[in-house]
Amino acid sequence: MLKKGLLLLTLLAFALAFVSPAAAGEPIKLGALYNLTGGMSSIDAPALNGAKLQAKLINQAGGLLGGRQLEVIGIDTKTDQKAAATGAKKALAMGVVAGLGYGDTTFVMAAAPLFQKKGVPFVTSGATHPMLPKWVGDYMFMVPFGDDDQSFAIADFTVKKLGAKNIAVWTDNSMDFTKALSKFYKQRIKELGGKIVLEDFFMMGDKDFSAQIARLKNTKPKPDAVFISAIPNEAGLSVKQIREAGLKLPIVSGDGFDTELVTTVPGPKLANDIYFSTHTYREDNRPEVVAFVKAYEKEYGHPPENAFAALGFDAVGLIADAIKRAGSTDGKALRDALAATRGYKAVTGEISYTRPSGVPLKGVSIISVHNGKYKVEEVWMPK
């Protein structure tokens, strides 16, 4: 009985192994470049998980172009720009129809130009510099909004809703992303008649903010709010130390604060009066979001780590949508289809490429944290 069952299972396995590719045709390969090891891995690893999940769901639903399977080839570029360029070459040599990847501009700039040269579209899941499509070219697409949009959104909120006039700005001086965020934030604050009373700096990897906090405490006139331009690693650390020093002023930031660390590191008592702009995903209950979170939990056994997981999921979704509309995997046809994307219902909000800058027109959520609880305050739309 057992033997018979085993035999049957083996036969079934063989049948599946031989039949499905024959029916489906050649797989459609996507090259996913991410830093799975090294400093960026807390951002990039979830993004690749999201990307693979999307491909799996699409394949379960019957694949693309008459049953062809979507294959996401993950390439670890080790938080190293040289490895990013090598990874791009490797992906292109494997004959991928599109590339995707990265949560940071620096690495996109190392890889994407090689795709551009070969006429293969590259979609970044998480890099937010608004100049990216200009720098790389017409085969470059962004899933997230630009840094200018998220900075303007939180600057508007700081002045109009929080009523802050004197504002302190802390900037992580080691990244293009955090510097750009502060630049756009200060620009908008000044336009709105606010005043920057203190500018202070730190570096990614800094753990101790005691010196900057003592200065923040002693700043005259007293700041009404502090903007912290940081990536997730420093988000919880800075909040914890500022609150422990007894400072109660509102803390505002961008999507670098979109991490559980903002509440878990300081604890619910200290995680108070924090506001950040981010991808419309956290605390959102659109059907796309609910379905994504459920599928992610089922696949990986834990909820999505951060918004980058959702953005990776969206990157593959966006490419698959374009392949469907193009009806082919040809580079030029795929590029044109991507550029023609209008109202694609992504987990992180609707994506349309209607602006001359090539940055998607996407809503920005303003999230508040009170006693360790997240809440969507508003959704800001770019003009």
């Binding site: 090294g38 005691s210 003592a214 650390l237 780590e305």
Partner: protein, 298 residues
Amino acid sequence: MGGGYIAQQIVNGLILGSMYALVAIGFSMIYGIIRLINFAHGDVVMIGAFVTLALMQVAGLPFVLVAAGALAAGAVVGVLIERGAFRPMRGAPQVTGFIASLAVSIMLQNLGILLLTAQPRNFTFPAALQKVINAGPVSFRVIDLVIMLSALGLMVLVMLLVKRTRLGMAMRATAENLDVARLMGININRTILAAFAMGSALAGIAGLMWGGKFGQIDPLLGYVPGLKSFVAAVIGGVGSIPGAILGGYILGLAEVLFVGLLPPIYSAYRDAFVFGTLIVILLIMPNGLLGSDKGERA
């Protein structure tokens, strides 16, 4: 910039310095015995932090047992590293051990990422240790006080051990001249293993403190303490345990005061100033503040 502001910055510097000193003691001990610049020392700090997290938050053990566990975990990892990576290379040029320690460090970091993922985890200490103490214009937390006192306590303990016990005598003899010590009947392997176990146990407990102070840990957290303790040890004179403590405090104070007293635009370059200080100190005193000039090995 009033007196209160400066006092607060000095306290901040002393707290940070205690942390560096705690890591630097173990680093300096290992160097003192076998002249090995052990870059994996910082990663033992990381392991100590994760073991603390596992014992405290997952297993829910009382604090004393957690501290004992962090010490034990550090010692075990130190012994394994010595047996696996450094003993086979004993007698090879110094640079070989140095490169081997870099390899061990990278292996431990990426092993951590593979096993635990690179996601930073939060780390909550008992509320009693998180309480803020206000003393005039200056404020600090109970945990900061614990770190300072334990750094000093451990220094005294290690010094007593090295100066007063048979094992300590064997360690000093081994440090002085390995071959002669062996001829005198000292079990070299056991002595070196003991130095690794002790130095790494201190790194393990430093991991507990590090997690408690900053409240967030990840598999790459050992990089900074590893590097800083190296600098602290060099400032104080490598191999000298009081030197490591002094170096740690100078480093912590220098970092905070550079940020606190210079215009904010320089805040991001704190490490550049710190390493600049290191160069100045080494130019004036090439063996560090408390180092001996006896050369590589007598």
